[in-house]
Symmetry: C2
Subunit: 143 residues, 2 copies
């Protein structure tokens, strides 16, 4: 019932990396599912981005409440860009465009509890993309 963590490798024993997702729009990101088959309404994942890695720019109805765990990274959340270090938390409201980015020289990792039953991520629509690309704060990350 215990899932031991190994500080040297920054990994949980027996938790194998899984591909982040199919398709494109992301780079150097790995998913570790700590638990998603619980008799519970939530699942818990750990994501890690390599230096230069980033996740998909997407939105969905289910919310995120991310807790940074390793290294330093950034998130686009709506029109904001937030800097994340252990154990900063960030809330992503429903249908808010978001992307996680690692511009640092080391790994950037975060915990991401979510509803077990949740909608699939959607790409942004043309207006949302235009808004992020015309805002100087978010433009560098809205590729």
């Amino acid at each position: 019932m215990k899932v031991p963590f190994d500080p040297e490798s920054f990994r949980w024993q027996g938790i194998e990396p899984r591909p982040y997702k199919q398709g494109g729009g992301f780079e150097g990101i790995t998913r570790y599912v700590i638990a998603d088959q619980l008799p519970a309404a939530f699942a818990l994942r750990y994501f890690e981005l390599e230096p230069g890695g980033y996740s998909s720019l997407e939105k969905h109805r289910h919310v995120h409440l991310v807790i940074a765990l390793r290294g330093a990274g950034k998130g686009i959340v709506g029109e904001e860009v937030v800097e994340l270090e252990p154990f900063d938390a960030v809330y992503v409201p429903p249908l808010t465009p978001h992307r996680w980015i690692n511009e640092s020289a080391g790994a950037f990792g975060f915990l991401c509890p979510v509803d077990a039953e949740r909608d699939r991520p959607q790409p942004l629509d043309a207006d949302e993309r235009r808004a992020l690309r015309s805002n100087p704060v978010t433009a560098p990350y809205a590729f």
Copy 2:
């Protein structure tokens, strides 16, 4: 949307401590609710035990998936006693008796995502108490 963490105080900005619960059977434990009013099926709490602190010995149908974050502690989980250090995870199945204990000289803290809608904790029944008290592994923590 960002909730900054302050490493010096080991606290999240704007997240005030709340009493753990009413009644007895616990000591030196504080609850920090990172988020429980999300439009989501989960809530996220951080609990911290002072040196010598412990939580109630209890059970409930909702599961726990605890992630240790600060210091070192122990958990009774059913008939096991597990040692917890950052970022060990431990799963508590439905209706499994459990208690968290801090026998260390520093604070022991852990994240605890749960179902937003969940049943109330129950005390153990007489048979469960007797089983934990007669097992030399769990007896020291089954007071």
